[in-house]
Amino acid sequence: MSGSVVLKGLVKTYPGVVAVDHLSMDIREGEFMTFLGASGSGKTTTLSMIAGLTLPTSGEILLNGQDVTFIPPHKRNIGMVFQNYALFPHMTVYENIAFPLKMHKVSKEEIAKRVTQALHMVQLPQHGDRYPSQLSGGQQQRIALARALSFEPGLILMDEPLGALDKKLRQHMQIEIKHIQEDLGFTTIYVTHDQEEALTMSDRIAVLRDGKLEQLGTPEELYEEPKTLYVADFIGESNIFKADVLEVGEERLKLQLPGGRSFYALRCSETVEGPEVSVAIRPEKFRVLSASETVSEEYNVFEGIIKEVIYFGESSKYSVEIGKDVIIIVKQPNFYPATKVGVGDQLTLSVHWRSCRTYCEGLSL
């Protein structure tokens, strides 16, 4: 019942713009794949090409091993949930969900059965007679999902389906969609610009940038081992600063902060060019050391002055100047008893050298 998708060198150009630039990837059966990217990254265009609503300039799309590049959308058997839901305003909820079944020539009795099932699945069994305009945003979203699922396509495409909902409801729907997807086992391609949403829901994430695939991997891989500075910055938070290269080792680099202190960092690329590299460190990888504490060689130790403290409830963020003009953010959970530090205090921090990732390219945003 679930479908696989293969993209081979997919290109879409518009006059003056390359929207999608030689995109290739395999999407496995039953997988929850997310296209993550900023606006203009080509994620929606790619989704639209998979649905058949946009013709690619070149490249191939395979669905379950079959070339569907030039097959019109109504023959692809793909369910799609649109950003604004695209519910038919002149049809009731029942008629909306029945529509794809009617188009697929399912018998009347079977339609009634399946619509009821679909309404139960999205927990709106009593709403069949309503019109979409009489439903709340969250309810419309569920109906759109039920409609896309009612004809049991093996592949569901979702284009920022939760974009219009408020934060609480969005989080709730993320989990609900994920549960339905796991229960029914259909393949999902999900488009979003919200990295948190991508991390929570996906089996794998494809980070797109300017129509190209920046990195493809599980949420954990993308967060812990970003291959490019763009990914390190786009997914989660990263402290990014420049450091001079002192020694180039096989696996690690010895670097020096502007202002003197040297430290070790993970070597990320084959070649290390130039006198300096960019370093990215996640704010929560730091640990605040007490005065007497010592750490093993594996850890880098930085010292700095606290410039700002921001209280977040479950955690606090400290801005610490660890080198000349190098200010990093350190995130610490708020233990009991609370650590009594404030602006102007000296702070000693430790961080494992493998958590310090280096990149040759600069960050151009």
């Binding site: 109504h74 793909i78 695209a86 305003p89 002149h90 529509f99 188009m103 019109y131």
Partner: protein, 286 residues
């Protein structure tokens, strides 16, 4: 006292009312009063009488003229719908530049005098005119075809002039339909024709109704085109009124005919509203 008056006049509602005044005065002087005058004229000669209304219903010729009026209006409306809908559909899907050019053309056509446009049709349709000589040359016919002063020429002339009133409302409704809706239908297995039939077309109906109503009601009172392009058989009620005013000088009867036309128009409007239920469609958020 002065200040109080000023306050009242500067109140937002009062200001709005003030702005409405010129329009209301004009409407009253040039519309409401004449209608009452006409109503009065149709009923008093010089004492109260119903003879001008009775005359209408006693003589079959007047009923016939009324029937012809309704028939021609229906045909014209149908022609406008058949020609206008595809045009509006293409226009709504055309690129921005192209659709602007077309819209300007439509509006420009409305700026050209009715007389000029009707006379153009005379030139095109007359004996040995462009169409006639073309048909003979190609050999479709060997005798002259009568294209003018019949139902055909009246319908063509009226439809050409009234077409924009059908296209514009349909176009504006089509344009307001979310382009994702037919796309969504296609992802759900609908062929493009089915997506149009089940989604785009029903959603465009308010525009169709508006265009239908506009063209039909304007046709009912049409005067110039049947006068210029029609024959004796295509006399519509407005021509009859003009005849009574200008030739027979029976203004009382002309007034009663006008009142009958007005009532007929209102009746059609009411029936239409009941059957279609324009308000109900608006409730759906269409």
């Amino acid at each position: 006292m002065d200040k109080k008056l000023k306050n009242i006049l500067m109140h937002p509602t009062a200001k709005g009312m003030l702005l409405l005044t010129p329009a209301l005065v004009a409407l009253f002087v040039f519309f409401v009063i004449p209608i009452f005058r006409m109503f009065h004229l149709s009923l008093f000669d010089p004492h109260f009488t119903l003879k001008y209304y009775i005359a209408f219903f006693q003589r079959p010729v007047y009923i016939r003229v009324m029937w012809i009026t309704v028939k021609i209006s229906l045909i014209v409306t149908a022609v406008c719908l058949l020609v206008g809908y595809p045009f509006a559909l293409i226009l709504s899907r055309a690129g921005e530049k192209l659709s602007k050019v077309f819209l300007v053309c439509i509006v420009l056509s409305m700026c050209i005098s009715l007389l000029v446009r009707n006379f153009s049709w005379i030139i095109i349709l007359q004996r040995s005119g462009i169409v006639d000589s073309f048909l003979m040359k190609v050999g479709i016919t060997h005798r002259h075809v009568k294209l003018l002063h019949n139902l055909f020429s009246v319908v063509v002339g009226m439809a050409e002039i009234l077409l924009p009133y059908m296209i514009l409302p349909i176009f504006s409704v089509l344009k307001s339909i979310d382009p994702n809706l037919p796309k969504a239908a296609q992802t759900m297995g609908a062929r493009p024709v089915q997506a149009f039939w089940w989604v785009t077309f029903p959603l465009s109906l308010p525009g169709v109704y508006a265009g239908f109503l506009l063209v039909f009601i304007m046709s009912l009172g049409y005067f110039i085109t049947p006068a210029l392009l029609g024959g004796a058989k295509e006399m519509m009620i407005s021509n009859m009124i003009a005849f009574q005013v200008q030739t027979v000088l029976n203004w009382h009867f002309a007034a009663s005919l006008s009142m009958i036309l007005l009532v007929a128009t209102l009746v059609f409007y009411t029936i239409f509203n009941k059957v279609v239920g324009l308000e109900k469609l608006e409730d759906l958020g269409v």
